[in-house]
């Protein structure tokens, strides 16, 4: 029994190491000096860490700007989609009306839609809208914010619904008996109680917007200043020789914020997911 457990423990630790190895390799390669990166004898360690690659990425290729663009898009998406999802989730849990179930099911179906296929009509939509409202046309960050808000909404609503449902009805009833209006109930009672759920939803929305490669690639065609990280990263792939040091440094820059975010909210995330899966 004891020996069996020790064997399983060792196995688990080994699997954990294999799982994080690519991440370790990414960070390691980002701080290796150029000579070791181009070496035909790659070592899984380095004694001469250098920030050259980061310097190349941030100073020479203006990666800071793309980082800022990505942050900006993700933040706006988190805020707007969180707010809209909260209102919709309240409507779908606290009220009973015709088509309520239909609407719910359509949110579920919306999650399955291959949004990649929608890039084609969306490309033309954004192009045409851009001639009227320049802020959300092609080559703008606004266009990215808009589509990501739309694509994070169905899941956000679906997930938040579980959290709103968990708040006992008696609470809003008591508040209303005390003379609170609907608006007060919404913001003073429900909103604070749903906040943990909103945090979990925010993580998903943030990651969705942050990781997006597809729309950045499709919409931002000629305005290099408005590129986001995933596209900017591909600049270091060159036909003659890839700049692996810079690619790994850029990948690290792109990964670290999400990684920290994920590990911090790990527990809550699992709870939130459980809620979304169960409901």
């Amino acid at each position: 029994m004891r020996a069996g457990r020790r064997l399983l423990d060792t196995m688990a630790v080994l699997i954990a190491l294999v799982t994080v190895f690519p991440i370790y390799w990414m960070v390691l390669s980002a701080v290796k000096p150029a000579g070791e990166i181009q070496s035909l004898e790659q070592r899984p360690w380095t004694f001469h860490p250098s920030l050259d690659a980061f310097h190349r990425v941030l100073a020479v290729n203006d990666f800071g700007r793309y980082l800022l663009n990505s942050v900006l898009v993700a933040l706006v998406v988190v805020l707007v989609s969180g707010l809209l999802a909260f209102l919709a989730a309240v409507a779908l849990t606290r009220f009973n009306f015709r088509f309520r179930t239909t609407i719910l099911v359509s949110f579920l179906i919306a999650q399955m839609v291959p949004i990649e296929a929608l890039t084609i009509p969306l490309f033309f939509l954004v192009r045409d809208v851009g001639t009227v409202v320049p802020g959300i046309g092609l080559n703008t960050l606004g266009s990215l914010m808009l589509v990501h808000t739309a694509f994070t909404l169905p899941f956000a609503i679906w997930m938040l619904r579980g959290f709103v449902q968990a708040i006992p009805d008696e609470l809003d009833e008591a508040a209303q008996l005390d003379g609170a209006g609907r608006f007060t109930v919404l913001w003073r009672i429900l909103f604070p109680l749903v906040a943990p759920g909103l945090a979990a939803v925010s993580v998903f929305s943030f990651i969705h917007a942050w990781n997006d490669f597809l729309f950045a690639r499709t919409f931002i065609i000629s305005e290099a200043d408005n590129q986001t990280l995933p596209m900017a990263l591909l600049v270091f792939f060159k036909p003659d020789e890839n700049d692996w040091g810079a690619i790994m440094a850029a990948s690290t820059l792109m990964t670290v914020p999400v990684l920290i975010f994920f590990l911090v909210v790990r527990r809550r995330l699992v709870a939130g997911l459980g809620g979304a899966v169960k409901d």
């Binding site: 457990r5 423990d9 688990a12 630790v13 190491l17 799982t19 994080v20 690519p22 991440i23 390799w25 070496s39 035909l40 790659q42 899984p44 209102l87 919709a88 309240v90 409507a91 606290r94 009220f95 009973n96 009306f97 179930t101 579920l108 919306a110 399955m112 839609v113 291959p114 990649e116 296929a117 929608l118 890039t119 084609i120 009509p121 969306l122 939509l125 589509v147 739309a150 694509f151 909404l153 008696e170 809003d172 209303q176 990651i207 942050w210 990781n211 597809l214 690639r217 995933p230 990263l233 692996w244 690619i247 990948s251 990964t255 994920f262 590990l263 997911l273 459980g274 899966v277 409901d279």
Partner: protein, 295 residues
């Protein structure tokens, strides 16, 4: 249902903002996708030189007559199936493992899985590309196969992309199933082991039946994700591999539209994909319904 009174318009106002966004950026594009697929819409129409004309089902008949479409469809189904099976096997195996190990290894494994889950698809792809690079890749050097290019062969390229997909998606399965297993009353599992059931039997005959609803969700979710893999394929195989050998429906539709300016053809492929996923979704909803969920 406490803030509600009969006939109130409040839910309408609450739903309105979300409905506007989804209507404009979800429903309307879906309609447009269908419309595009029955029009003749290529570069000439985009630049405004020629009006788009209605061609009916012609895009579809031409698509179905194209052997490349069938080859891509077959590859997509096989690739997705392989990814789903591998993801579930790894995820379920590790979920069971998590229940049988000490606290510290459990924490290590779940943090490691979370980390892999968190890595953005683009950075994950680039990192694995470097690890498996022809000359500079650590893996090739470790196994002494320098000069071997994983991307030349259709199957090794698909296998490598699949590995990245599984690496990024097994944590979801593991975490969800582990939560499910933990929710099973200990007494049930203890009773089974007293009755002499080994781990293998306990898994198949006790956990699997109890976890059926959770398993169904995890399976369908994986099918949908793996059918739609885009970033990993696009980045790692440089847009579909040598001579398009690693195209899947998603990337194929995208390339037809944006690389070849065959927008209508791309839209038709998109519609086909949408219908396949819709079928999977209907299955998903029926499973949910059967497991007694209230909507």
């Amino acid at each position: 249902m406490s803030i509600s009174k009969k006939g109130t318009r409040a839910p309408l106002w609450l739903l309105l903002p979300a409905a506007v966004v989804l209507g404009g950026l979800f429903l309307y594009p879906m309609y447009q996708l269908g419309l595009l697929s029955v029009l003749d819409f290529t570069q000439a129409q985009v630049s405004g030189g020629r009006p788009a004309s209605f061609v009916g089902a012609e895009n579809y008949t031409r698509l179905f007559a194209d052997p490349q479409f069938w080859s891509v469809l077959g590859a997509t189904v096989l690739f997705a199936a392989a990814c789903v099976v591998a993801t579930l096997a790894v995820g379920a195996g590790l979920a069971v493992l998590l229940t049988r190990i000490s606290r510290v290894p459990r924490l290590l494994l779940s943090v490691a899985a979370m980390a892999a889950w968190a890595v953005p698809a683009v950075s994950g792809s680039t990192t694995w590309m470097f690890l498996f690079d022809t000359d500079l890749g650590f893996v090739n050097q470790l196994f002494g196969i320098e000069g071997f290019n994983w991307m030349y062969d259709r199957y090794t390229a698909f296998a490598l992309v699949g590995a990245v997909v599984v690496w990024a998606s097994f944590p979801f399965v593991m975490v969800t199933l582990y939560a499910g297993i933990e929710a099973i009353p200990k007494s049930v599992l203890e009773a089974a082991s007293l009755d002499g059931a080994n781990a293998w039997r306990a898994f198949w005959q006790i956990m699997v039946p109890i976890l059926r609803p959770v398993l169904a969700i995890v399976v369908i979710q994986s099918i949908i994700w793996d059918f739609k893999v885009f970033t990993q394929i696009y980045v790692m195989t440089r847009g579909g591999g040598l001579a398009g050998q690693n195209l899947t429906l998603n990337v194929y539709a995208y390339q037809q539209a944006f690389a070849s300016s065959e927008y209508s053809r791309g839209a038709a492929i998109g519609v086909v994909m949408m219908l396949i996923l819709l079928a999977v979704t209907v299955l998903y909803l029926r499973t949910l319904r059967r497991s007694g969920e209230q909507l």
